[in-house]
């Protein structure tokens, strides 16, 4: 069952040609028909099979998923559909799906946790203001609380906002009036739903939020936003040079200074004064049988 009308492989029309319109409605533009032209150099859209669909369906049940879990999910989907041989390399598998998702303005985005560099994946929206998923799960005042917390986090030096500072803004929230007690619970809800991480009474963004909202954050807070000198992505937690002020993610620091005898700032060459973390090694973790609970206890208060 369930073999939807598969599209024949498209010529290099990429995402555009995959968007197959019906007969033009009256008053529609000539451009309404599937154009034969392409977005210059667009890659050929991949083919979806039930393996890919099941993968997407199940991936969507996770806000964000670690690479280990993604591989497990991929294997599961191949197994269910009776294809245990030739499991495609994860990167190609995901790129294939992403080429199909392109026309829907979503993608499976890969990122890394800011504290220990674990690779993580999330299905993110590229087009709309990216909190629409959040918007359906939370009330207006709850969303506003998140926005307030987000602003505090972005403005902070450490990437963390204290519970006290967030709760003090409760009176300014839009929508139904919220008491501090209630706000505490809402913050916990954000933690449970993987939008925020809590450490010792302070809150920062979960990798899920960073993946989903990077674009929104850059556009909304262009002056306050910090970026990593190495990977150029959004930076919430990290280390900074005391001389010139450039910042780097902890995992980026780890990779950059991996075999450096004397760590020096890539920008001003001054001595790098912070502890250099270890590069994330998934194999090491598997051997030790450790769980996520064994994350490095050190807070990245190294600005």
């Amino acid at each position: 069952m369930g073999a939807p009308h598969p599209r024949s492989p498209r010529p290099a029309g990429g995402a555009e040609a995959a968007f197959l319109p019906g007969p033009p409605a009256s008053g529609a533009t000539p451009g309404y028909r599937a154009p034969s032209c392409t977005q210059g150099g667009a890659r050929r859209a991949g083919i979806m099979t039930d393996v890919h669909r099941r993968f997407l369906q199940l991936l969507m049940t996770h806000g964000v998923l670690e690479e280990r879990g993604v591989r497990r999910l991929q294997k599961h989907c191949y197994r269910v559909h009776g294809r245990t041989t030739a499991v495609e390399e994860l990167e190609d598998f995901i790129n294939n799906i992403n080429s199909v998702l392109e026309s829907l303005y979503i993608e499976i985005k890969k990122g890394a946790t800011e504290d220990d560099g674990r690779p993580v994946y999330a299905l993110v929206n590229l087009a709309t203001t990216p909190v629409s998923k959040m918007a359906s799960d939370f009330a207006e005042n709850e969303l506003d609380l998140f926005r307030k917390a987000l602003e505090l986090i972005i403005d902070s030096e450490t990437g963390f906002a204290s519970s006290t500072n967030i709760l003090n803004l409760v009176d300014q929230l839009k929508g139904k009036k919220m008491r501090k007690k209630e706000a505490e619970q809402v913050l916990q809800k954000f933690v449970q739903n993987k939008w925020l991480i809590e450490k010792e009474g302070e809150f920062t963004l979960h990798s899920r939020a960073i993946l989903e909202m990077e674009q929104y954050i850059r556009e909304t807070y262009p002056d306050a936003v910090k970026t990593c000198n190495i990977c150029h992505s959004l930076l919430i937690q990290g280390q900074s040079c005391e001389t010139c002020g450039i910042r780097m993610h902890l995992p980026c620091v780890a990779k950059y200074f991996q075999s450096a005898p004397e760590p020096r700032c890539p920008h001003c060459n001054d001595y790098w004064p912070h502890e250099i973390p270890e590069v994330f090694n998934p194999d090491k973790e598997r051997e030790a049988g450790t769980s996520k609970a064994n994350k490095k206890p050190s807070r990245s208060r190294q600005h």
Binding site: A42, H76, L104, V124, S132
Partner: protein
């Protein structure tokens, strides 16, 4: 790669951002989250060349890009709404997503339905003919091992639902509420007692399942004390079948479906009716 059309009506003020943020609306043009920050891309004019329409979205021709974006929004809206298992009203779709594109609503919906099915394996189906409400049906068969790789709990309440659906069918497609509780009590499920897995079973069965359109719940007139009756709701007929439910009941009793000849015949007839080609399509023609 994705083009970045400039949205003329782009909300720039904080107030507008907030409004959009809360609504999750897509007033903004797509900008990819790859590479350099969006702030540069946020300003500046489009580099589309001749493809984009210059007119505002309300009048005149719409570009391929705008249409594509509208379909994308619609797909996302349907996916998110269906997660709650509440049927999606056409009026909500028009209000929250379609907006100015009302004139081509049927085409947009058709395109969104195609994408939903091709990409995600979900079929957009009208709950009942002419009801103007929709649900998504999974074209993939769920498998037990799915539960191990899911990120959410799935629905633990499905077991209870299946039992109630089975009861209704075996009792001739309608059953009194009192009979339902007589049966469930034997399984340790009470209308008035909180249940470890199901929480409030009475609320679950008489409200939640009804709201999700799995069950119909009607008052039986002239009964004293008041009694209600249950029947299958429209979603049940779309998502499962008499034969599937009969097989479930048989499995629970460790017997064969044919051991209930009357129900088996009925289930067979239902299978035959389903096998005949449908007369109506899934999306409205209006």
């Amino acid at each position: 790669m994705l083009q970045k059309p400039r949205n003329r009506g782009r909300p720039n003020t904080q107030a507008e951002r907030e409004r959009d943020w809360a609504r999750g609306a897509a007033e903004e043009a797509p900008s990819t989250s790859r590479g350099a920050g969006g702030s540069q891309e946020a300003r500046g004019t489009s580099s589309q060349g001749g493809r984009r329409a210059e007119a505002s979205p309300e009048v005149g021709p719409r570009s391929q890009q705008q249409l594509e974006l509208k379909v994308a929004e619609l797909v996302q809206f349907l996916l998110i709404k269906d997660q709650k298992k509440i049927p999606i009203k056409r009026t909500d779709i028009v209000k929250h997503v379609i907006g100015d594109y009302k004139d081509i609503f049927p085409d947009l919906l058709k395109l969104a339905a195609e994408r939903l099915e091709y990409v995600f394996g979900y079929k957009l189906v009208e709950l009942e003919p002419k009801s103007n409400t929709y649900i998504l049906i999974n074209t993939l068969e769920p498998v037990e091992e799915d539960a191990e790789v899911r990120g959410d709990q799935g629905t633990p309440t499905t077991g209870l639902l299946m039992i109630v659906l089975g009861l209704i069918f075996m009792k001739g497609n309608t059953i009194k509420e009192t009979e339902v509780w007589d049966f469930l009590r034997r399984l340790g499920v009470y209308p008035t007692k909180k249940h470890l897995v199901f929480g409030d079973p009475k609320k679950l069965i008489t409200e939640e399942f009804v709201r999700q359109r799995y069950l119909e719940y009607r008052r039986i007139p002239h009964t004293d004390p008041v009694d209600y009756e249950f029947q299958w709701g429209p979603r049940t007929n779309l998502e499962t079948s008499k034969m599937k439910v009969l097989k479930f009941v048989a499995k629970v009793h460790n017997q064969d479906p044919k051991d209930w000849p009357a129900q088996y015949c009925e289930a067979l007839a239902d299978e035959e009716a389903r096998a005949r080609p449908e007369t109506g399509g899934p999306t409205p023609s209006s």
